[in-house]
């Protein structure tokens, strides 16, 4: 099937506007994707028709809201092929999901002298929680190195593994470079020494087919807003056997079974980890985003995005002064680059003047930038609603900008 991109674009109201007098070209999808009309309608529809607090009401609205809320949990379960929906926990985002695991699992099971492994490619949100844990527990954080193309060195990873390794937390797809990591191999190797593995799926869940049972990851963290869904909503998948032995992350309503002043017993999973009134509207609307993805088909999305990536590499590659950053063999539709002699900031501002939205800077991956010897990059990231002609337009603007310093 070849996608009708114009039809898809018509589902995204935000795309149809001018920015600085030019038609908007939105290439900042790795930061957050736009939302289809169905998601927006669901958000307003919830507040117009169904708004009520879930799980405890004895009235019709509460029942309806609860049902929709739990339907999304089932939808997410199917989306990642979890064994059961109780393994799906709603959080604020990837960041909170990772913090939950570091705080709950980490505090209970990591002890002095243990080792935790992450990689050079990590987003700050998959670095800092582990640093905090290591500091508290006097454990050691080990870092898997990369090569100059932005690929993880698997042999180096194997060298880091030992019986001291208790946890491996690794980004599935790099947000700064687009590298797809060989996570299945990593998970297998980690399990051989008895370590648990968390996948940061913030950038993979929207591009790749995800099957947590096939991957055999112990945890998966991702964000709805990078998946055509609302902001402020994330998912933590965890294997039941682990979630059950983990202590609660926060205390409050929803997460309890019974409270007396003497003792509180905790609710079952997933509710044990969802203290307080959750983000009901956004959870419900997220199902519409998942429906959108399955309507288009992940493999169709991937195919279109791969074509865009190839097209961009070719179009941008001809520009004098264009320096690609991150040239891994396996990549998603992200082009990170610099223009010789120019600061990424300046390139970004000039592209914006042309109506083109890209991200500039360190992309919350400062250690990676240090490894690459860069202050930052310009990053264009493509989604299903982007077109080759938008890329051509960006190539034209970029050529003009690059010329300032590359005559």
């Amino acid at each position: 099937m070849s996608l009708n991109i114009e039809e898809i674009r018509a589902m995204f109201p935000v795309l149809h506007q001018e920015v600085n007098g030019k038609p908007l070209i939105y290439f900042d999808n790795a930061a957050t994707t736009q939302k289809p009309q169905s998601v927006l309608d669901s958000l307003t529809g919830y507040y117009e028709k169904d708004n009520s607090n879930i799980h405890r009401g004895a009235h019709t609205l509460a029942d309806r809201a609860t049902r929709y809320y739990e339907e999304t949990r089932e939808g997410v379960k199917n989306f990642i092929n979890a064994n059961e929906s109780a393994e799906v926990i709603f959080t604020k985002g990837t960041t909170e999901s990772i913090n939950l695991v570091a705080s709950s699992y980490g505090r209970k099971f990591i002890t002095k002298g243990d080792e935790i492994i992450i990689s050079t490619l990590e987003h700050h949100s998959n670095i800092v929680p582990w640093q905090m844990l290591c500091e508290e527990k006097e454990a050691t954080l080990k870092i898997i190195p990369i090569n100059d193309r932005g690929e993880i060195l698997l042999e180096e990873f194997e060298n880091l593994l030992s019986d001291k390794t208790k946890f491996v937390s690794i980004v599935h797809v790099s947000n700064a470079l687009g590298t797809i990591n060989p996570v299945k191999k990593i998970i297998k190797k980690a399990h051989q020494v008895g370590a648990m593995v968390l996948l940061d799926g913030a950038q993979s869940t929207n591009h790749l087919d995800i099957d947590v049972q096939d991957l055999d990851c112990d945890f998966l963290a991702f964000s709805a807003h990078k998946l055509y869904g609302p902001t402020g909503l994330g998912i933590l998948y965890g294997k039941r056997s682990l979630l059950e032995i983990m202590p609660p992350y926060q205390g409050g309503g929803e997460m309890i079974k019974e409270v007396t002043f003497a003792k509180t017993t905790y609710n079952e999973i997933p509710f044990k980890f969802e203290a307080g009134t959750p983000n009901i509207a956004d959870v419900i609307a997220f199902q519409k985003a998942l429906d959108f993805i399955s309507f288009i088909g992940k493999s169709n999305i991937k195919k279109h995005e791969d074509e865009l990536l190839d097209h961009a590499n070719e179009a941008f590659g001809q520009i004098k002064g264009f320096v690609p950053v991150g040239t891994a063999a396996e990549k998603v539709s992200v082009v990170s680059f610099n223009i010789n002699g120019m600061h990424p900031f300046d390139v970004g501002v000039m592209l914006d003047a042309n109506g083109i939205a890209v991200r500039t800077g360190h992309h919350c991956t400062q250690p990676l930038m240090q490894r690459l010897g860069l202050e930052g990059t310009v990053r264009a990231s493509f989604s299903v609603y982007n077109t080759k002609s938008e890329i051509d337009q960006m190539a034209l603007s970029l050529a003009k900008i690059a010329k300032i310093k590359n005559k």
Binding site: N20, G21, H343, F345, D346, V349, D352, A353
Partner: protein, 143 residues
């Protein structure tokens, strides 16, 4: 020598001529940055970096009788252009003039819109630092 207000008015007029087109405005700002006098290498130290700027900005001063001379640099051309405007307005003035200056040209030329809110914060940090230098210099003069 023309007053701080005269120079601000000059800048406002220059930007009016450029009109609404953001791209040409940015090119102009970058061009101004290119004309900034070379920053002395010995001043390129951490103590001279202005905090609050997303891009790196260095600011140093020279005393010239009762006047302050500002020297500055940045690693991005657009920021350099913005700095050059501030220097054009404030450099070579007495601390009293600098402290009194109401820099309304920044709003009038629509800087917030041109550079975005994050950089506007950086610009405010830069102005604050320039005024702090003036304050320190004034205090020194008074003893």
């Amino acid at each position: 020598m023309s007053s701080i207000q005269d120079i601000q008015n000059e800048i406002i007029e220059e930007f009016e001529i450029l009109g609404e087109d953001k791209e040409s405005t940015i090119y102009y700002i970058m061009e101004l940055g290119g004309q900034l006098p070379k920053f002395p290498e010995e001043e390129r130290v951490d103590e001279n970096i202005i905090k609050g700027c997303q891009s790196k900005v260095w600011l140093a001063t020279r005393e010239n009788g009762d006047k302050i001379q500002y020297l500055a640099d940045s690693n991005t051309d657009i920021t350099k252009g913005l700095i050059s405007l501030l220097i054009r307005v404030l450099s070579g003035r007495t601390p009293q003039e600098i402290l009194k200056a109401d820099l309304d040209f920044i709003d009038k030329i629509g800087m917030g819109n041109i550079i975005g809110s994050q950089r506007s914060n950086g610009l405010s940090a830069m102005i604050k630092q320039m005024k702090l230098y003036a304050l320190a210099y004034q205090a020194k003069q008074n003893v």
